[in-house]
């Protein structure tokens, strides 16, 4: 009896955490799209990434949750905030600009995408998705991910590093001041 009570209490806690994290995820996602100030949108995206990390923890993806917080929320969003601060005050209401039918069409298109995902997954896989097997303790651990990266998915690992190098080189080139761009900027001011 106490085992059943403990089991259902654990399950209730998982449900509570899931509902809180899921609600924070969806609400911050909508907030990113609806704020007019891009700084607030970036802060809402940080909340979104944090709640996603909680959801990853609930599915036993511990390393990915840590990487999400470190890389996404810690590095990518800081880069965003730097650029938003550099660009300065550019506040823009989301529903302004462009004809009215474009707004309606965009909302309908997004709703259609969401419904399509739900319908396709519901029709094709709802039976098989109902029950997930238990996983052992090493699932999602850093050592397990590292072993996979260095054995089964070595090519993905190496290509990812090449992509990051190319992006770093591209970022430096885009941000550099050559003499020609300095002359252009001086003539524009």
């Amino acid at each position: 009896m106490s085992v059943l009570a403990a089991y259902s209490a654990g399950s209730a806690l998982v449900w509570i955490v899931w509902v809180l994290a899921g609600f924070a995820c969806l609400a911050s996602g909508v907030a990113v799209v609806s704020f007019s100030n891009p700084f607030y949108s970036a802060l809402a995206l940080i909340a979104n990434l944090g709640s996603l990390a909680v959801l990853y923890l609930l599915v036993s993806a511990e390393f990915v949750a840590a990487a999400q917080v470190l890389v996404y929320a810690g590095a990518v969003m800081v880069m965003f905030l730097f650029v938003i601060a550099y660009v300065g005050p550019v506040a823009q209401t989301p529903w302004a600009g462009g004809p009215r039918w474009q707004t309606v069409a965009a909302v309908l298109a997004a709703a259609a995408i969401f419904l399509e995902i739900v319908v396709v997954i519901g029709l094709k896989a709802s039976g098989r998705l109902a029950h997930s097997e238990h996983v052992n303790a090493t699932f999602g651990s850093p050592g397990w991910i590292g072993r996979l990266f260095l054995t089964d998915h070595l090519l993905a690992f190496e290509i990812t590093s090449v992509v990051l190098l190319i992006a770093a080189v591209g970022g430096v080139i885009l941000g550099s001041h050559t003499r020609r761009t300095q002359l252009e900027e001086a003539s524009l001011k």
């Binding site: 969806l26 650029v83 997004a110 995902i117 991910i145 990812t160 941000g175």
Partner: protein, 102 residues
């Protein structure tokens, strides 16, 4: 310890993807378009990780980590573009930055 089934995570992932698509279609500030792109990528990541848990296969998490690295690279280049555009005193408006179109 049971909790919500995988289908619930996929529902959240689908909603995130649709919300990001809405942001990309609707907003004119390229910074917010990039933020909405990040939401779409995160929705796809959540779906990948949910399926990885369901199939007990590590490939989903590996793929999610590769997507994260690619998203970081794309944000780096996109923000470099935004900075370069701002430095030339052009308006940060995707409707007006359309000279390469057509």
């Amino acid at each position: 310890m049971s909790g919500p089934g995988i289908a619930w995570y996929l529902g959240v992932a689908g909603f995130l993807f649709g919300t990001g698509a809405l942001g990309v279609l609707l907003r004119r500030n390229p910074l917010i378009v990039l933020l909405s792109l990040e939401i779409m990528l995160n929705g796809a990541n959540l779906a990948l990780i949910a399926f990885s848990r369901h199939a007990q296969n590590g490939a989903g998490q590996i793929f999610a980590l590769a997507v994260m690295a690619v998203a970081a690279s794309e944000v780096c280049v996109g923000l470099g573009l935004v900075v370069a555009i701002h430095r030339r005193n052009l308006a940060l408006d995707v409707d007006r930055l359309s000279e390469l179109r057509g």
